[in-house]
């Protein structure tokens, strides 16, 4: 089976309430899709996502791997750049950055170092070597 990467623009979740947002994303992950969300959830929604994921775990669905990339967190060198970043952050809010949600049966681990994101995929039964994808 091929790998499905589902892109979700922020506009698709913008109008939804917290529970519906989380359930929409989780439903996609449960269909074995790797979800790439434009922007990010609120911190409370991230915690809800983990809690609801736990409720859904069974013999087939083992949970998720989650990573949030937030460019606002990167420290800028100068005061002016700092103001610029803060201004853009105020304008864009949660639209900034992106979120990756992968089903644990497909994605073994997401390493989110400051400079890069690594998706380590689960070994499929046939090939023994581990596949690795890098998004820079």
């Amino acid at each position: 089976m091929g790998l499905v990467l589902q892109f979700v623009p922020y506009s698709e979740i913008e109008e939804l309430g917290p529970a519906r947002r989380v359930n929409k994303l989780l439903d996609m992950a449960k269909q074995n899709k790797i979800v790439l969300l434009e922007g990010r959830l609120k911190k409370e929604e991230e915690a809800d996502l983990i809690a609801i994921t736990m409720e859904e775990i069974n013999n087939k669905f083992k949970g998720i791997e989650l990573a949030v990339v937030n460019p606002q967190k990167k420290k800028e060198g100068t005061f002016l750049k700092g103001i610029k970043t803060a201004f853009i952050g105020t304008l864009l809010g949660d639209r900034q950055g992106f979120t990756i949600i992968g089903p644990a049966t497909v994605v073994k681990q997401i390493r989110n170092d400051p400079g890069k994101i690594e998706l380590l995929m689960q070994d499929t039964p046939a090939p023994k070597s581990r596949k690795q994808k890098k998004i820079k």
Binding site: E46, A51, M54, K62, D113
Partner: protein
């Protein structure tokens, strides 16, 4: 600027309020196998002379919230009394097959996985109950995991004071600097909960957190 000053003032007022409360809840949070229960046992042994819970190399040994009430610690003439809350490790995935690989039987592994999922939910629910939190991280592991960031982000959103403990510094692979770099806005104290290394500095850190 003004908002920051008001925020700091309100935080101080709230912290003073918590200090005067009879039952301050100090939560131990973090991913599974970071050493939360080992630290809870260290605190309880140091100040009560008894253990709090069982520890294991297999993840999710603590699957229920555990509370030890009225622990009073002393340092440099000061006293601090709190209810210690040891929480199940927070994870985004739980696979009963991992427990089978660790040597458990099928049924036992499935039960443990089921209880572990409930434990994670309880830990998240209890975030709102905490007055102050110690995040216990395994210093040999990558600190940039989303679970760590989500827990800390949620505590920050609730304005709950946080101290980060880099546990297992007795191990060669421990990298405190990496944890400090990942969470520069917080105090990080390197300890070995198992052997008690640097534990006095940890107690001093607790006083600094609630002062």
């Amino acid at each position: 600027m003004v908002a920051n000053i008001i925020k700091k003032f309100m935080n101080k007022v709230l912290r003073n309020f918590f200090k005067k409360k009879k039952q301050v809840k100090l939560g131990l949070y973090g991913p599974p196998n970071g050493g939360k229960t080992t630290l809870a046992n260290r605190i309880c042994q140091d100040w009560l002379g008894e253990d709090m819970g069982s520890v294991s190399n297999i993840a999710h040994e603590t699957r229920e919230i555990q509370i030890k009430e009225q622990i009073t610690i002393k340092s440099k003439g000061k006293e601090l009394t709190f209810n210690l809350v040891d929480t199940p490790g927070i994870a985004t995935k739980i696979d009963y097959e991992d427990f089978i690989k660790a040597g458990m039987k099928d049924r036992e592994a499935k039960t443990r996985a089921k209880e572990a999922t409930k434990g994670v939910i309880d830990s998240i629910k209890w975030l709102d109950e905490m007055d102050t939190v110690v995040i216990v991280l395994d210093a040999t592991k990558d600190p940039y995991s989303q679970v760590n960031i989500t827990i800390i982000g949620n505590l920050q959103a609730r304005e709950i004071p946080v101290l980060i403990v880099a546990n297992k510094v007795d191990l060669k692979k421990a990298k405190i600097k990496k944890i400090e770099a990942a969470f520069p806005q917080y105090d990080v104290i390197g300890i070995s909960a198992k052997y008690g290394d640097n534990i006095n500095k940890f107690y001093e850190g607790l006083f600094a957190l609630v002062d």
